[in-house]
Symmetry: C4
Subunit: 496 residues, 4 copies
């Protein structure tokens, strides 16, 4: 029979190397069990050297101890006289945690929490630039809420032990169906900037599209690219075409950049009031401008307006695409298509146009523009062949793994995140971006497995119920200027 | 003529045995009338020995007194000089009742109030485990709000003096159409745990389905089963099949357990952030883990995650059902079907599968999964024969008797409650669970009688207006993998 | 030329008999103009004897003075030295008006303000009884919001100088299309009780339906009836039929009561938690009941429950109607029909049943029962002949004159108010009820004239857009028990 | 090599004439660059004479400086010893800006902010008159929110360097598709009154419709009209026709007034409670009226009620139009049509009726009247020929440039603003109105260019998705009194 143990002796065994706990009056050595505990080792380590009965009891049925530990693990009975006063119940542990305390990245459970953590670390001006969207933020909010309108249709009795999250885009493999959309000025969030985002993408095996307005040069961003790491480069065509041509010359020399992403959804800047207002908040309380002879500012003009300086608003199918093809041999993708007609037109330029991004520019261009999901449903309804001719991806509003599987179920090859990556960068640099990708990866895998879908290509419209969205989709005539006979309900193929 | 009475004399008659009150200047002996008072005896007893005129007058028309009491009950006129100062009007009685004061169970009028009372008595951790649901709680909330979208169609001129609430499930009679769904870890709420729930179910003549993750053993839970009391036992198949087989061996020996409930809607754990967060709230403010050499926790993992350890995510129609049939002769019900296709497939295994539970796991698995009412309406629309081949029940979101009659009107045999029973247990142990069942029983009877429905089997879709829900039901092609020709609007029977 | 006037002289003319004001430096005698002022006389009287320029100027174009007053009204220029300091601008007049101050009845602009004023004057218990409705108040709120879902279609170029608000019910003329529905316990609001409501109805030429649970006897209520004043009497049939028969005997003798209103929508009491809770608030904080030997109260039971004691829940078409006809020769109307089928059945008893009230009992019976507007639209869709065979009226949720015209446009002869009258009574006795009827009368006239409708019988479905409501109307098969072949979309006439 | 510069020297160059900044340790002369800075000159001037590195760095990629400034602009390295303590980061600059501080007009970014600024400067009474609308403000709010229900359909690859915002109305050219609707009592906002609005309209090349209840005479308002400036004059026909005829006589003589706008949507005043309540707030706290012998006020009656005095509610197609034609030769437009039937009827009087304004009087007449967009969609659906026979414009609820392009896409020639102009006037007199027009002009241009629309006449229903609104449009029979056979779904042409 085992001898009685003093509490002081138990207190000596509080590490991974030797871990004792008291349960129901007995001392147990749980060192070997630590890696097998369903609830994880840490929850035991926290109670190491103490009486764990109060925490253990209500969540373990009788017999659990005996089923999982050999009798040899029982060191012996505790000497009750040596025990300290009982620990208070969990509900009495203390006040609510201080919301000012900075949580570790691992404690940020979803993209909203990452955004909140990032906001605390940023300048008001930087936050305003990232957060802002056009006018009343209607499209920004709709981008997200439209996913809430779609219901999942989980299937049972499907083996989903493994879930392969990989997908492809332009022939490149992505380990996860989530890429980073071009988003400007990453160094407003963190000194690691776009280079930092690249490191996180490398780790997660996915694509980063570099903003034309990156706060670092493309060369800096790709300099530590891993083998096989894929980048795209976003182009805002400049009115001074020479500037764009020079830039394309630099890009053409960078092997890691595999394609050019031509942005079309913002020929002129949208009105981002939060961004414009930050100008007033930060600057105009001073007398400085007047002293310097400057005129009164009118109508704001934050960072967003500044970045558009020089952007060419005259792009056309007939002029711009041939010009671009002349200056690069890399595949081209078109970003910012917002109706099925433009997707249909794009599908007639597959000599060099290989993909499209359905996007309303994160709600930052035309407010009340449709979310990408609307455009995707339009394409499915009126010209589904586009989905086979081009690689179609979407961005805007993605916050959950369920959003990802919904977009893929409708035919998207992958989804892009913009603000998500930037707020991750703000919250914790490279590790912050990694945390964002990790959250979305895990949520996507969980969503897919709960749907009974073992790999991304198995997702189909059968897995979701889009009825609430479909009744809001455009159902007027197709808008193909110059094409005769376009009628409601009758798709007329354009001659191109 | 009767003599004048002093107030001191009236004050002596303040009990059930002798109860006098003063009304309009006369003293009345209402002892015999107490059991017949429409408003109940207590309301009179409260005023016993006092002048009740101010409370009595505005709610009784003249003549009421004379109609209900014999003249002999009139003792005589009160002596006005002996009366104390008048009691203040009800509205002046005092401050709002203190919300911190614990109300008696009888004063909890609905399930929301029971939940609030239970929350006050629980640890934060336990509450978080019960309350939590997947991601943004969209499905959890939709489970309830979908009932609000359905309107009742009350009929008049129907004799509903009696209302028979009984129903059947798998041939067993239930006194009320409300059973307790499998829900884990009841001892987080109260030491009586699952055994306590069993005692309440016994009293109300209904079924308890015992969670695979109960905090007590099945033997403990059923040990005080009444004659004819029916239990089910929920199975999460373990990767180590031997463990499940041993458990089934134990269950097979328990006569009170009449069927096995195989859970299918959570092959992997959903992401329950409230639960995961509680881990940080309660634990990580200490330095303990780091001191013990533990790594930083990532992504939470509350009680919910722990319980899933060892659960097998590879179940299939072809492998798992035959295996299960080999290890038990008890009838099987499948829990967690969320689309009509799976219900249809289940209806082809009626050799041992006798029922199904339409459930999205209380919103705790895939967020934005449909509420059971959606699945039930899908079945009615596309494969109504399922309702005759199998006993179909639903759970998730039930808070009112009107919810119960709506589910039954659509063909459900009964409805399950999970959190409701647990919060009842937290609020008051066995009596708390009884109060929950009592509330739902009384509300269900009231709803049925107001509909003009004297017994549960009379409920039909004619009694409700589901139009607002029906327009959101899935209307794409049936998803029966391997079946040719599945088309929208045309149900193709699968060959099985 | 007129002489200069001193301010002291002007100050002497501040009454209706002699009213001077200063405008733009001149003193004007506006006594004769007072009754013609578009803005009313009072607004001038308030400024009588003072310099009114600051208030007058911004809302009168130049020339207004000269156009409206004869030169003889100009007394002469003011002596500026005699003027006091200028009055402050309106926006500086002082603090916000104190919300605690009791407003005069005339300052209560709509039914919500009357309700708020009434609430302040009532006991908590009385307010809870009036305010309460079943369960979650879903039907109570829907009763009102459904009117917001209907749009008006105003017509232009219609002469609507006169607007005749009169209507008829059972052959009786109502001066306004708004009657008082049976509502219990008016003396909880004010000592004038139901008699007080009768006085207001007399003044406005409309019908009062007396509640079976009135806090005064029918004889008291009708005792001051005007010539031609019309009452109805509501019957809750008692299980002890003799009691109802005796009561009918009394009613039959009262000539002013022209019809019997048989209530059918509350065979058992709904669950009115606000009412039941008030019992605890007011009573259970005392030790009295326990001291008196009373048991613990369970599940509340407020005033509402008490009133139902003895009500017969076994009424049927075949038994109850013949019984009632035997005991009265007065016309019968049926209250509480909530689906078109019951309205259809009622239209086959026109020998003595002359009208129906579409009502869900003010949301106080079955929660999520449909608003009367739903039932009315069902009738229009499936059995419009009911509207010609019976006089159909509605109640529940009426708060605005636009609500009144919408109900009438759909075929209702009139609309009833219940709580509105009671809260008016609470706010100001007879004058309070009058104010409620006055508000609704004026709003109804305004709505009708803005629609281009000079009399109530001109209102038709062409004047409103009900499309948003129609898509929620029940569209399943008709529910006529015992009738063969009832099918969705095909109305099958019942043989009766 | 350049010499080291002291901070004191840099400090001398802080003006447009000579502007130096320190970047990365070097002093640069950016005077010549000021006009070319994409972010505007002011943002540099603010930092003139200081170290700008902290603000500059995160938003400019490396190389930007070298690309944009010649080497000659580099004055030399700063002497670090002479630098003051570093400026704090933007996020630390100080507290939130004081919401009480009056912002410059240029800092007001949208119409809501202009309204808020205007409110602060107005009397409560004036604000209440402008802000108020009928009953519960349902139509007022719906007027705006209906635009949010419409989605844009932006097109890509369209040259939109130039965007021509001009439109026409009755043959007159408007530089912007936004005019000022007739709105009364502008001097409640600002002493410049309607004349001030006229000056802003002159500057922006658009039409002002002068209210019949303007606080200035028409002669005053138009007296500084520019060459070609166009005014309309709104007529409320008076019961004393002579008064209207005299007024028309004056209007006929004013050449700048090009048309008469006959108001039809308010034959009687709506119930504007905010306006009526302001009467009590400002006035009735005094004892003055009672002292003067005035009766108690009943039912309010604010400015709105006053203005309607004398208005004729008996207008008809057959009497009023001929009368009006007799008294003016100017073209007539009809204001306040709210259903397609009346628009259809109007299109049969094109001898002198040249246009219509779809309007519900800013929500100030019949509450729950439809927004103009409903009426416009009705016209498109049932009688689209009206759009070619008449110039159709809309008002009510316009707050954004996207609202403007949506109305124009559906066929409106222009849109009117009422409250917007008045609140602009309140916020800053003439400049305030200009700011409102400037905001809407710029937003409209941005919206059009983002749609890929280079001129207003290119806008068509193809550019918007109105599906969510269309399902709420009236679809009952046409309401043409006296016309036989009007049926749902079949438009029957009226014989006129």
């Amino acid at each position: 029979m085992s001898k009685v143990i003093d509490y002081a002796e138990v207190q000596k065994h509080k590490s991974k190397e030797s871990c004792w706990v008291i349960l129901y009056g007995n001392v147990w050595d749980v060192t070997d069990f630590l890696p097998n505990h369903p609830g994880g080792a840490n929850i035991i380590l926290k109670l190491a050297g103490k009486d764990a009965t109060e925490e253990y009891d209500p969540i373990h049925p009788p017999g659990t101890l005996e089923d999982n530990l050999p009798e040899s693990a029982r060191i012996g009975p505790i000497n009750p006289q040596t025990l300290p006063e009982p620990v208070k119940a969990a509900k009495d542990v203390g006040p609510e945690p201080d919301s000012q305390i900075e949580l570790p990245l691992g404690a940020l459970l979803n993209l909203n929490e990452v955004e909140a953590a990032g906001k605390k670390k940023m300048s008001k001006k930087g936050w305003a630039y990232y957060y802002s969207a056009a006018d009343d933020l209607a499209s920004k909010h709709f981008n997200n809420s439209v996913y809430r309108q779609i219901l999942l249709r989980p299937r049972v009795f499907v083996d989903c032990r493994d879930c392969d999250l990989s997908t492809t885009f332009l022939g490149h493999k992505l380990e996860i169906p989530i890429f980073v959309s071009p988003a400007a000025m990453a160094r407003l969030a963190h000194p690691d900037g776009e280079w930092g985002i690249a490191q996180a993408c490398k780790k997660f095996g996915t694509i980063q599209m570099i903003s034309n307005n990156a706060s670092m040069t493309p060369e800096q961003i790709v300099k530590d690219a891993g083998p096989g790491q894929v980048f795209g480069w976003q182009l805002y065509v400049q009115t001074e075409r020479k500037k764009s041509e020079d830039m394309l010359g630099r890009i053409n020399k960078l092997d890691a950049i595999k394609f050019i992403c031509l942005t079309l959804d913002a020929p002129v800047p949208g009105k981002r009031e939060e961004d414009e207002r930050s100008k007033y908040v930060v600057e105009d309380t001073s007398q400085a401008i007047k002293d310097a002879g400057g005129a009164e500012l009118k109508g704001g003009g934050g960072i967003g307006q500044s970045l558009f300086f020089g952007t060419d608003p005259t792009l056309t199918w007939t002029e711009t695409l041939p010009w671009l093809k002349k200056h690069t041999n890399k595949p081209i993708i078109l970003k910012g298509l917002q109706c099925h007609e433009d997707a249909y037109l794009a599908s007639h330029h597959t000599d060099q146009v290989k993909g499209i991004i359905l996007s309303n520019h994160g709600g930052r261009a035309a407010d009340t523009a449709p979310p990408a999901i609307h455009t995707l449903l339009e394409i499915r309804k009126y010209c589904p062949e586009v989905l086979t001719k081009l690689d179609v991806v979407v961005d805007g509003g993605i916050k959950r793994g369920t959003d990802v599987v919904k977009a893929l179920a409708l035919g998207a090859k992958a989804v892009g995140i913009g603000r998500g990556a930037l707020f991750g960068l703000a919250a914790g640099g490279i590790e912050g971006v990694e945390r964002v990708l990790e959250i979305l990866r895990d949520e996507t895998a969980t969503a897919a497995r709960l749907l009974g879908v073992p790999k991304m290509s198995d997702l189909s419209p059968l897995h979701i119920n889009t009825r609430a969205v479909e009744r809001d989709i455009y159902d007027g005539p197709a808008n193909l200027p110059g094409i005769e006979g376009a009628m409601k309900g009758l798709w007329v193929k354009a001659k191109l």
